[in-house]
Symmetry: C2
Subunit: 342 residues, 2 copies
DNA sequence: AGATATTGTTTAAACGTTTCAACATAATTG
DNA sequence: CAATTATGTTGAAACGTTTAAACAATATCT
């Protein structure tokens, strides 16, 4: 590799000190410096194609202009979109993003966070998996700037931006009821993650408020690790339930994806036999023969706010901000009017 | 933020020099150092929760153990998967990944590459957009370690790993012909990117070899920026062509996604009226009522090889490796037997 | 016993920047 | 015209590590 150009090289060529070169290139003391010298330095720098060594700069300034982000699963479009939005947004503020995917695995999560801190990121944006409370509390004790995204822990007071999942889920179920469904199931993950528990709570409370008495078989809780078969079983149980479950809420886009593929192969008709609502927006939901009603999270805003909060924390530390966002229920054919009427 | 623990702090507490602490923590001179002292140092380090400052370390060692990756469009599942695989793979070698998305925009691409170099990444994995030849040549002149992924420039001799797109496309069209289709269209991007030109070339040559005389209206070239309407127009033209086009190859997953959604709303039947093959694997292709035959790229291997080549370049520079991968044609219902027979 | 090898540790320079404090010269003031 | 202020520039320390080279003390050799 061809030798790197340093401040020293520019200084030498221009016959000035390294200090002066640094000042010019960083536009400091700009009112003091001789305009011609400054221009000369800039010309030489451009000529030699100088690139500042960020590592050295960071060491000195104690700022890396890097933020670390740990998403739950980068191969999930929800995470991918979030990552992308955050990268865009960070870029606007001249920050670079390092990212990693915890795959819902607490120890991988801890490892990623550690790596990022060692790399002196200025702050972190995190979607913590189950059992990562310790790590979060540790960061907090450290006073390290971070903001939780999409999920948070009810009992730990940290900055976060997340959906009001209770409300979102509640509204979705209300819509199902309003369109005439009265036996409503939910397929979701068996998890102690707060946001998932909230989704479940929203579902249950909507039933209750509408005086629909919940039956045990309506709620299918899937192990987050072995997806496919459990979900297909759940669907099988739903379509063979008696009396028949006539609507179902999917607790995540992943569950929806697997479910829809399977439903596609079954002799049932959506929404006639089964109404469907899913969390999150994906292409899949559009392509299903009855485009699926879904709970749309304001990803862009969430990403933007997360960055905003983080930058605030980085600059004047221990400012905690907690933001709950509202979802939008996008109503489509999969919850079209029921044959039962209402 | 609570004060950071330095080597100095450990040294002080242990009553030894900074050097010794560094040696112990880096497992160097391990045969020389007194075992008890070493253990004591390790204990103190653990106790104080020491984390090495990677920035300082990098400055000294001239290695960041970071690689930069620029994908074409992180919101495309193809890119997202690739990014994920590379991150996993890099992690195995203790590298961290910085990523960015060029969005097929040359100047954004250049900016990202610049940022990454300033941050002293040890190497780059790049999917270059159109008109980024200059930047690639520049990197090459610099002797900077990089490997192109998914795409490369025919006229620039660099390391790359990519699909043999000509062959993939050629095989796909052969399959269409073998299953009785004789009027075969292709919807692809209007682009001078080599990999896209290869896909087109494969399509045309397969027709030629089978003595099917290509008609101008069969090839629909879409402007890469304004997708949706152009693609829908193309589909309209295809289904109203005379004599009727009875098969179509989609040049990318994006085109397939948009097309399938639209076709779903039309009164035509796949594969009876139109056989379909797409590039790349997505959930969409599974969910379509006639699961879509697709050209599967060996993403995992591509990612792994890319990392392998890059690490080789990083360690013993100017080793150029060029790898062409073979696709697998996954045959499903969308190319089921034609009513025309054959 | 003196020379040599081994064991255990430290000194000091270096990586490429930033930035405080100081210097020299020129311009302006009372 | 001496004192002050403004202009333009530089020296040197610092950021937190690594690492070559040297040192001191002990063990092993002939």
């Amino acid at each position: 590799m061809s030798k790197k150009v340093l401040l020293k090289d520019i200084a030498l060529k221009a016959g000035v000190s390294i200090t002066l070169v640094s000042y010019v290139l960083n536009k400091q003391k700009v009112n003091r410096i001789n305009k011609e010298t400054a221009q000369k330095i800039r010309d030489i720098a451009a000529n030699l194609n100088y690139r500042t060594n960020q590592v050295a700069k960071s060491l000195k300034t104690n700022k890396t202009f890097t933020i670390g982000i740990v998403v739950a699963d980068i191969s999930n479009p929800f995470s991918a979109n979030l990552a992308r939005i955050i990268e865009d947004e960070a870029d606007k503020h001249n920050y670079t993003v390092i990212f990693g995917s915890s795959d819902e695995n607490a120890s991988k999560f801890v490892k990623l966070v550690d790596t990022f801190i060692n790399r002196q990121v200025d702050g972190l944006i995190l979607s913590p998996p189950s059992n990562s409370e310790n790590q979060i509390e540790y960061l907090q004790k450290l006073g390290f700037p971070f903001v939780l995204l999409d999920r948070y822990f009810k009992d730990i007071k940290t900055s976060y931006v997340a959906l009001d999942n209770y409300k979102a889920s509640h509204e979705a179920v209300n819509h199902l009821i309003k369109t005439g469904r009265n036996r409503i199931g939910m397929i979701t993950y068996k998890s102690d993650l707060f946001h998932l528990k909230e989704r479940k709570r929203g579902y249950l409370s909507a039933l209750k408020e509408n005086r629909i008495s919940f039956e045990r078989g309506w709620l299918k809780e899937i192990d987050i690790s072995n997806n496919r078969s459990e979900i297909e079983n759940a669907i099988n149980e739903i379509i063979s339930s008696d009396p028949l479950i006539n609507a179902v809420l999917f607790g995540s886009n992943n569950i929806a994806t697997i479910s829809l593929k399977y439903i596609n192969s079954l002799p049932i008709k959506v929404p006639r036999d089964l109404a469907i609502i899913s969390f999150d927006q994906t292409d899949m939901l559009d392509l299903f023969y009855a485009p699926v009603t879904y709970i749309k999270q304001p990803l862009k805003e969430m990403g933007e706010i997360a960055i905003k909060i983080l930058l605030k924390e980085i600059n004047d530390t221990n400012a905690i901000s907690q933001v709950n966002m509202n979802a939008e229920l996008v109503i489509r054919e999969s919850t079209g009017i029921s044959i039962d009427g209402s």
